[in-house]
Symmetry: D2
Subunit: 362 residues, 4 copies
């Protein structure tokens, strides 16, 4: 193991002398592998952590609250994804949550859904690198870095163009990101039906995916190309429609729970639907359950680290079943998701197939 | 001073017994005041910090880089705003940057622009509170909390409705957030012409403001109400158009510099335009200058804390003039903006009036 | 589970009205339980994490490096403990590391060893509380709080006095903290032989424990009482002797590895012995292996978050087998220690019994 | 300015080819300069920050509380120093606080007092470097790195030996760190009387300095050499005596305030004296004022980031005048110290000369 720790750096140091193409191939040689929670028994560990203190106890409580959400037949569950989670090997966890009816809707940043999940569904990979690599040299090799993870920039460009092609194939009107991602799922089901993919599984299981800042990722590149090619009539992404649709889901499913990885736009967007429903004159209870994994803290006043108690003052989240866990996602998410998977409340849980709601209403 | 430190908490404890309306009034009694950099001499302090170490030195360097951007007649400057900056008393700084030609375009989260700046322009205020208040009781009083700052929720609802009214008054088509915010600026210039406001000043100075996740704020509430009222034909916000427009600005202004407060969507969005321009077949150099104030760090792999060196590997930011400052914005932003203001490079800088570019092209 | 989440807070709110003694008993009713790594299989999880990214990968690498230390028959292992680890339920892990020859010397803050481990060995407990309790009321109840954990202050005072009694029973001379802690271990072996205790196990297994800031804890209270009672001749704690002794261990055991939980004095002290050995004219290689679990980061220039690479510039730590893990200890320590325990390299590892070195040299 | 940003890295890259001695000289060429608060007007900025939010407001409150301490004629002020503050250019601030009667006792880590302040008093310097330097190459050049700051290791060794010489010159008995540092001050007053130095100024102004983990620094190296040379009779550092002495000061000065930079041993040690005094049967009120500058947060349960409210549960700190500021010290300390200096309460404050208390009692 330890021998490989420094390999990438040595390669890069050598890059000056050697053939660039060869270097790129060597740097992009060790794949990130997606962690599989279905094969590991998390219950004894997480149960034990819950009787310790600090973040171990918080993690135990959060896992327990997620289990309660799944066990509550009234509760629809919204998974919020921010941060580079898919490139980091957490894709299979989300796919398993979808396939085992452990999540009913997803709100995410674009990078997770398009640049990373859809990208991998097209056959591309993420590679293990190091945070100490020389970024200037990486740029010359057309390798993009996310902390310790490497991406072939040429492959990313293919991803951008695929989004453009999908847009080209659609009727020229305003779409919610959910609708467009559904089209991406349909594309995968036709062209890459065996891919392990969030977009594909969500398409098959009728789990809607919302990306409220949809242009802020590879999809943006593809869609800008599409619009420039079609200046007068084209696909547009109406972010208001996203908000309207997610609010409709809240109105339809009174009881809701949030499982949030990271903060950012997905956290705010999913919390806001309680207020939006109320503004539309509908009765909408606070999110009954809410857990968040984050390394942000509250002291800068920004949303990502704001406490779930603060969200109660806004009339968004109930204080009864809320828990924040201060831990990086690659460690905490497997433990929490794996615990709830092992506990098995999903076995008697119905698939809500919330995407059908929109299909039926179209 | 110290006597007031605990006041709000005492009031809230008393809230159970007393008249709720009276309590709300007392809790919302001490306004947040906007810091004025134009009256303070920052140069000796920041110059001295630059010869110390750690974040003092980083802050000194970042201030110097911002000064260089202003001094570089080729360079267009994009200000990125994430976090609750305006409610925190940093509004006047941004207004001064606009009015003194120290910023040419703004990319922001919606909260800063709509819930906080536009909200204050309508005559509402933010109030000094405490992070220790009881959120359950605040909810009952319809007071929203941002860490230590309090907001009258009833006033926020008026803000939502005002956005709805503006949407009602517009032609029913797809808008970029920039276009919609311009309409908000026009509204203010007609109805609240004396407000101290980013939206208003940017309107007057032709500084375009982009909010890539425009539904993720009070604007979203207003626009959802508008669309529900007008289900078939309505205003929509096309986030692709935002990306296209900002990319056009990059193509038009080869040399660019980024002054980023916080991370999130604004940081990513503004960095991405270099790649987008390239994808459109246009020559677009890396952002020549880039500084970021943030408390996030790189170890969770998320964008907000990712180093500007990492952004170099993506072909977005040059490594020559980049500096991150690990400090909360209410402390670092006044020092950096104030230093550059004092140094006075803006005095000979031309207003770029980038909004005119779109007006002319419409 | 969730029902208990809020219990302590409700109790405290009620405290104003009720009988104080009853409240104290209720608040101090749910014990922190010590996590047992010997019953859980950590290998599949940690192996899988190592192929993900960010801190999951770092944790996997750190666990692997700890396994390598144990597998390297030349390497003596120093465990460094900072932060409130024992009150947080991590005691049994350390006891198991000692009992299974997985650690050869310990450097710790005083709180872990005296206020928490020795305290529990006397029969006292730590209790699950909440970070939201009212500290003013806790003070009145003589309950001390560590984030979410509660301590009976009256029990702590008994701990202080026990230290005083041990000092009273010793010859009046200068001791290293190691010597004094050995006396504490002897005391436990005579009076509390069945306690689950780091101090007791280390005494029995001849694992020396160093607390370089020994007065900075309950031991300080006990020893100050002892010295005030015996103003002219008394036990003193010579911190130089500590440093001298630990340096002697480095000289005796050329190859060394560090397993550091938290930073602070233990991290610095254990790293410094390489330099101290060199100053005494002895050949002493860099620490061959070093891992650290911490939530601190490098950007404030303080030692706790300084990278292990920085320690290489000081000639203290080799860069070949080093890994920092950004994670709170209650989550990361069980995973790393449990992984190495499961892997079983300790089964063929000899007990070094380093305390005997000093006994023989006395 | 920007031209120098990358200089050191370029030099180091070149180090492989060039003459090592020349490289070392070039790397150690740009000195860290000590920030001078006496020449800058901080009042308008800090007063304005206090009416903003988040850490700006917290900083304003902390500055105000420090001003109150100085204005309270009953209050003795203890300054706690943790982290690498002196190497970072904050030395002159501490010297000014001492010289203007703004601090009555100091509790510090050893690095600040010995490796950095005493080291500079001997004529050595700290140099501006970069966090991106290659630590392996630095080690070969005998250059030690603290984040972005560089030290000549050969000079540090002279500092170690000077401590050894001072120990050799003293009577062979147990000393508190305070006593030993006083001897260091005497040494400076004789040999380096013109140095700008905390140790020297504190000696001259009778401000006692306590370093509770005195071996954990360059002093430890010097004293170990001294003890090895004098195995039977030698200087020892009794950490209990430190605690006893600081407790005596608390008993003598009922009202106390804490100005804490960083956490660690100094924070805990200074807080503990309230309890220690009580254990000795003396009446000792809680610390009346307490402020702390830190980047640590409370969620890992460790002392450094624990809230001052938590310290109230322990009966150490009053909750009435306490404020934590989440900011790195090189930015926050100049603002807080400078504000209090400008406000001028020190002008009518008497020097307490607490060192005389021990001299008189010897």
């Amino acid at each position: 193991m330890s021998k490989t720790t420094m390999t990438n750096e040595s390669i890069l140091t050598a890059a000056a002398k050697d053939n660039v193409a060869a270097n790129k191939k060597t740097l992009l040689s060790k794949e990130v592998k997606h962690l599989d929670i279905t094969d590991i028994n998390f219950v004894p560990l997480v149960d034990a952590m819950r009787d310790t203190a600090f973040q171990g106890r918080n993690l135990g409580r959060a896992a327990d609250i997620y289990h309660q959400m799944l066990d509550d037949s009234e509760c629809a569950i919204i998974l919020c994804l921010a941060g580079s989670l898919i490139s980091a090997g957490l894709k299979k966890i989300v796919v398993d949550l979808i396939n085992h009816n452990m999540v009913d809707a997803i709100v995410s940043t674009g990078a997770n859904i398009v640049d990373q999940d859809f990208f991998e569904a097209l056959g591309f990979k993420h590679y293990q690198g190091s945070p100490w690599l020389n970024d200037d040299q990486l740029q010359k090799l057309a390798i993009d870095r996310i902390y310790d993870t490497l991406i072939d920039e040429d492959a990313l460009r293919i991803c951008d163009h695929t989004v453009c092609e999908i847009a080209d194939s659609l009727a020229h009107r305003a779409y919610s990101s959910r609708e467009f991602i559904q089209a991406m799922g349909k594309f995968l089901s036709e062209k890459h039906a065996k891919a392990e993919s969030i977009v594909l599984s969500a398409y098959q299981k009728n789990v809607p995916i919302f990306v409220p800042a949809f242009s802020d990722c590879s999809a943006g590149f593809g869609l800008v190309m599409h619009q420039v090619k079609n200046p007068h009539k084209h696909v547009s992404i109406d972010s208001v429609k996203d908000f309207r649709e997610l609010t409709q889901l809240k109105i339809k499913n009174k009881e809701t729970g949030l499982f949030m990885i990271g903060g950012g736009v997905p956290k705010n967007f999913a919390q806001d639907i309680v207020v939006a429903a109320e503004l539309l004159g509908e009765e909408a209870p606070l999110h009954k359950y809410a857990i968040q994994i984050t390394v942000a803290d509250e002291r800068d006043g920004a949303l990502s680290g704001s406490t779930l108690r603060e969200a109660c003052s806004w009339g968004k989240v109930s204080m009864v079943h809320e828990q924040m866990v201060f831990c990086e996602a690659t460690i905490a998410m497997p433990l929490i998701a794996g615990y709830a998977y092992n506990k098995g409340a999903w076995k008697k849980r119905q698939a809500r197939q919330l995407s059908r709601f929109f299909i039926d209403n179209e």
